[in-house]
C-alpha cells in the first residue's frame, strides 16, 4: 500500500472518505469508517492504554478485581420491532459486550434522552422491557439519568447503557490470543436482527415473519467457559455483522481467517431478503449471537456445550484461523472458489437492480 498521502487536487472523482469534513451515517455503521473515527480521532484525543485495546468492553483492574467495563448507545428506529424493542437492545447489547470479556454483567447504568412530545405509555413500555430484560439477564440497573431534547431534535427515545461485571479468574479473552489452528464457531443463525429491523423500517415483506434474535448471551458464555476457561476470543457480531467481527479479530491477532461459506447458518428468510436487496448476510447485524475462536482441542466439547444451550442450538463450526494471509478473512465458497470477506466501509446499501 502507498505510504504517501493522496493528492486529490484537480481530480474530479476521488473522495477519500476519511477526508470528509462532516460526520456521515457510515461513521456509525460498525465498519471501516467507524473504526477510523475511533482510531484516528477519539483514541488519540483521549489517550490511555485501556482504550487502545479497542475491545467491545474494557478489561480493567480495581482493588485487585478484574472488571469488564462497557458502554453502548441505542438509536434504533422503530422503537418496537418483531422480537424486541430498544429497551431489550439497551440491556442485552451491553450485557453481551461484557459477556464477550467472559464477565457476568452485574450492574448497568441507563441514560435516557427523550424527545419532547413522546407519549408517556411509549416510555413506560420501553422501561418495562428494560426491566424484564435485566431480570432475565440477572443484571441490576443501578443508576440512571434522563434528559429531554426539543421536539425534532431526537428520534423519540435514545438510550445509553454502561455496565460492569467481574471477569472470572483464568479467563483472558483477547484477539491477540488467537493462533493458527483455532476453530471458529458461530452460535447460531445470522442476520435475523438486521432483516427484522429492515422489514418494519422499510415496510418490506420477505414472505415470512422474521424476528430479531435479541438476547442476553451471559448464560451461553458461562456454559462455554465451564468446558474450558481457555477460549481465545469472543465477539458479538452486531453492526457490520459477522464479517466485521472476523475482520477485527484477524487484524488484531495478525492471523488469517478462513470460513467455509456453506457452513455459516443463514436462515432462508435472511438469504431471501438479502437476495432481494443485494446485501450479504455476512454483513447484516445480529443481537443475540457470538463468534468464538476456540483452541482446536476444545472445539468439539465447546460446540456440544453451546448446542445444549437454548441460544446455541444452531451453533456451527464455520472455519479456522490460519497462518496464511495474516489480517485477512477469506471465504471458501460453496462451489469451491475463494473470495476475500472485507471489512464493510460504511453502511450496506440496497442495490438498484
Amino acid at each position: 500500500m502507498s505510504d504517501t498521502a493522496l493528492d486529490i487536487t484537480g481530480w474530479t472523482c476521488p473522495a477519500p472518505l476519511r477526508d470528509r469534513p462532516r460526520v456521515v451515517m457510515g461513521h456509525g455503521g460498525g465498519g471501516a469508517l467507524s473504526a477510523e473515527l475511533v482510531q484516528h480521532l477519539f483514541a488519540p484525543a483521549f489517550g490511555g492504554d485501556v482504550l487502545a485495546q479497542l475491545g467491545d468492553s474494557a478489561a480493567v483492574s480495581l482493588g485487585g478485581v478484574r472488571l469488564a467495563f462497557s458502554t453502548d448507545s441505542y438509536v434504533v428506529r422503530p422503537l418496537f420491532f418483531p422480537g424486541g424493542s430498544i429497551g431489550d437492545l439497551a440491556v442485552n447489547g451491553t450485557v453481551n459486550d461484557l459477556a464477550m470479556s467472559g464477565a457476568e454483567a452485574a450492574y448497568l447504568s441507563c441514560g435516557f434522552i427523550l424527545e419532547e412530545g413522546v407519549e408517556m405509555p411509549v416510555v413506560a413500555r420501553v422501561a418495562e422491557a428494560m426491566g424484564a430484560a435485566a431480570r432475565a439477564a440477572g443484571v441490576e440497573v443501578a443508576t440512571g439519568d434522563t434528559k429531554v431534547v426539543e421536539a425534532g431534535h431526537g428520534d423519540g427515545i435514545y438510550i445509553n447503557t454502561a455496565g460492569i461485571g467481574v471477569i472470572p479468574d483464568g479467563v483472558d479473552l483477547r484477539p491477540q490470543r488467537v493462533v493458527p489452528g483455532d476453530v471458529v464457531i458461530v452460535s447460531g443463525e445470522i442476520g435475523l436482527h438486521g432483516v427484522a429491523i429492515m422489514s418494519v423500517r422499510e415496510g418490506l415483506e420477505f414472505g415470512v415473519d422474521v424476528q430479531s434474535d435479541c438476547a442476553a448471551l451471559g448464560g451461553l458464555v458461562r456454559s462455554m467457559l465451564a468446558v474450558t476457561p481457555d477460549l481465545h476470543v469472543l465477539r458479538d457480531p452486531t453492526r457490520g455483522g459477522l464479517a466485521a467481527s472476523l475482520n477485527e479479530i484477524a487484524a488484531a491477532s495478525g492471523t488469517g481467517v478462513v470460513i467455509h461459506e456453506g457452513r455459516v447458518p443463514v436462515p432462508a428468510a435472511v438469504a431471501n431478503a438479502c437476495a432481494i436487496l443485494g446485501l450479504d448476510p455476512l454483513y447484516v447485524a445480529n443481537e443475540g449471537k457470538l463468534v468464538a475462536f476456540v483452541p482446536r482441542e476444545h472445539a468439539d466439547a465447546v460446540l456440544d456445550a453451546m448446542r445444549a444451550h437454548p441460544l446455541g442450538r444452531h451453533a456451527a463450526v464455520i472455519g479456522e484461523a490460519v497462518d496464511a494471509h495474516p489480517g485477512l478473512v477469506v471465504a471458501r465458497t460453496a462451489l469451491g472458489g475463494t473470495r476475500v470477506v472485507d471489512l464493510p466501509i460504511g453502511e450496506q446499501l440496497p442495490r438498484i437492480c
Partner: protein, 386 residues
C-alpha cells in the same frame, strides 16, 4: 422461496463445470453484460473454476458505474436545495461526483432519502405538497419501467411537486458499441436476464447475426451463470451464433408487454453518455414531450452542468472489457473502495470493486494487517482498518 438454494447447488455446479471443461478445445472470450452477473461470478469464485481457456470479460452493465459524472453532479446540485427532498436507491449515495457524494449532501443538511421504489418517492411527494420531491431515475431497461409508471401516475394524479432526474441507458446499443471497438476481443455474450425479462429478445438476433457472436440470455445465480457459459461455449465450439434463452423461467421472447407499453408512453430514445465510455447513439431514454414537465433537469435548470471525467481513471476501458481491473496501475493502490478513482470501484456491482473486495488474495494487493493507531493526518492507506 425457491430459486436461490436450488441455483447454488454445488453438485449441479460441478456437473455443469465438467460439461464446460469437456466441451472447450480452444480459448474463448465471453462478456457478461450485467454487473449483477459480474458480482455473482467473483463472489462465488466461478471464474476460478472455469477452464483456463474460457475468459470472462466484465461488461458495462452496472447502472451505478455508467451513470455519467455530470449526472451525479446534477443530482448533488438538486439535492442540496433546501426546498427539495431527493430520493434515490441506496447504492447511488456513495458514488462520488465532483468532490462529494449524496451522503455528504445529507450530512450538510440536504434531505436525501433512500427508497426501495420510485412509488415511495411519489408517496413522499403527496405527503409533502409544499416541497419538491425528485427521484433519481437511473439504470437499464430493468428500472426504467417502474420509473416510467411513476411519472405516468404523477401526471394522472396531478402531483406537480414530483419530478425525475433521468439517466436511463439501454443494453443493445452498448453491445453494438463494444463490438465496433477495434480492440474488441469479445466472442460471445451472456445477456442480462432481467433486462430481457422486460424487453424480450427481439433486439438480439440481428446483433448476433451481424457480429457473428452467440448471445445467451443468462440469469444471476451461480448455476444460471454456468449454464449461460456452457451454452455460449457450445455454440462457439460449433461455430454457431444464435440467440439462446437460458433464463426461460423469467424471460419470455416477447418480454413484458405492459412494461414495454409504459416505456413507449413515457420515454423516448435519445443519445446518452456512459461514464468512462462516452456518448453512445440511441443508447438511452429521456422523458417524452408529453411528460417533459416532470423532468428534474429542466425544472431545476441544471442542464448546463458539464463535468469532465478525470484522466487518471481507466474505468472506461474496464467497462468495455479492454482492461481487467487489476491491470490498471491505480488498482488497489491509488484506487480502492475507500478512495475510488471511478464508479467501477464504488459500486458493489462494479468490476473493480468486485476484484478488490474478493480477489485481492491472488492479485497480490493484500494490505498487511496493522493495528497501531496512526494520526489523523496519516495517508489513507496507512490506516489499520483499510
Amino acid at each position: 422461496m425457491k430459486y436461490i438454494e436450488e441455483f447454488q447447488d454445488p453438485a449441479l455446479a460441478r456437473r455443469l463445470l465438467d460439461d464446460i471443461h469437456a466441451t472447450v478445445t480452444r480459448p474463448w472470450a465471453l462478456m457478461e453484460v450485467c454487473g449483477g452477473q459480474t458480482h455473482t461470478i467473483i463472489r462465488h469464485g466461478i471464474d476460478q473454476l472455469l477452464p483456463e481457456q474460457v475468459e470472462l470479460i466484465h461488461g458495462p452493465g452496472c447502472p451505478v458505474c455508467v451513470t455519467p459524472l455530470e449526472v451525479i453532479d446534477k443530482a448533488l446540485e438538486i439535492a442540496s436545495r433546501p426546498d427539495v427532498i431527493f430520493c434515490s436507491f441506496g447504492d447511488m449515495l456513495r458514488v462520488p461526483g465532483t468532490g462529494r457524494d449524496l451522503f455528504q449532501v445529507r450530512s450538510e443538511g440536504g434531505d436525501v432519502r433512500v427508497v426501495y421504489s420510485p412509488l415511495d418517492a411519489l408517496r413522499i411527494a403527496q405527503e409533502n405538497p409544499g416541497r419538491q420531491v425528485v427521484f433519481f431515475g437511473i439504470g437499464f431497461e430493468t428500472t426504467a419501467p417502474p420509473n416510467a409508471m411513476t411519472v405516468h401516475q404523477a401526471k394522472k394524479l396531478g402531483i406537480p411537486n414530483f419530478s425525475l432526474l433521468v439517466s436511463h441507458v439501454r443494453v443493445p446499443p452498448a453491445i453494438e458499441a463494444i463490438m465496433q471497438s477495434p480492440s474488441c476481443r469479445v466472442q460471445g455474450f451472456l445477456a442480462a436476464g432481467h433486462v430481457c425479462s422486460v424487453m424480450g429478445v427481439r433486439e438480439y438476433p440481428e446483433l448476433a447475426a451481424r457480429h457473428r457472436v452467440p448471445i445467451v440470455v443468462t440469469g444471476f445465480e451461480p448455476l444460471d451463470i454456468l449454464e449461460g457459459v456452457r451454452r455460449a461455449v457450445r455454440q462457439l465450439e460449433r461455430g454457431e451464433h444464435t440467440v439462446d434463452n437460458a433464463y426461460a423461467r423469467a424471460v419470455r421472447p416477447e418480454g413484458n408487454p405492459a412494461a414495454l407499453a409504459m416505456l413507449e408512453d413515457v420515454f423516448e430514445v435519445t443519445d446518452r453518455a456512459w461514464r468512462g465510455i462516452g456518448v453512445i447513439p440511441d443508447s438511452g431514454w429521456r422523458l417524452s414531450e408529453r411528460y417533459r414537465d416532470f423532468d428534474a433537469e429542466h425544472r431545476f435548470s441544471v442542464t448546463g452542468i458539464n463535468t469532465r471525467e478525470p484522466a487518471e481513471c481507466r474505468s472506461g476501458e474496464v467497462l468495455q472489457g479492454l482492461l481487467k481491473p487489476h491491470e490498471c496501475e491505480a488498482f488497489g493502490r491509488l484506487c480502492t473502495p475507500r478512495s475510488p478513482l471511478g464508479a467501477t470501484m464504488v459500486s458493489s456491482e462494479g468490476a473493480c470493486a468486485a476484484y478488490y473486495l474478493y480477489r485481492r488474495l491472488e492479485l497480490g494487493t493484500v494490505p498487511a494487517a496493522k493495528t497501531a493507531p496512526t494520526p489523523v493526518s496519516a495517508p489513507l492507506e496507512a490506516s489499520p482498518v483499510v
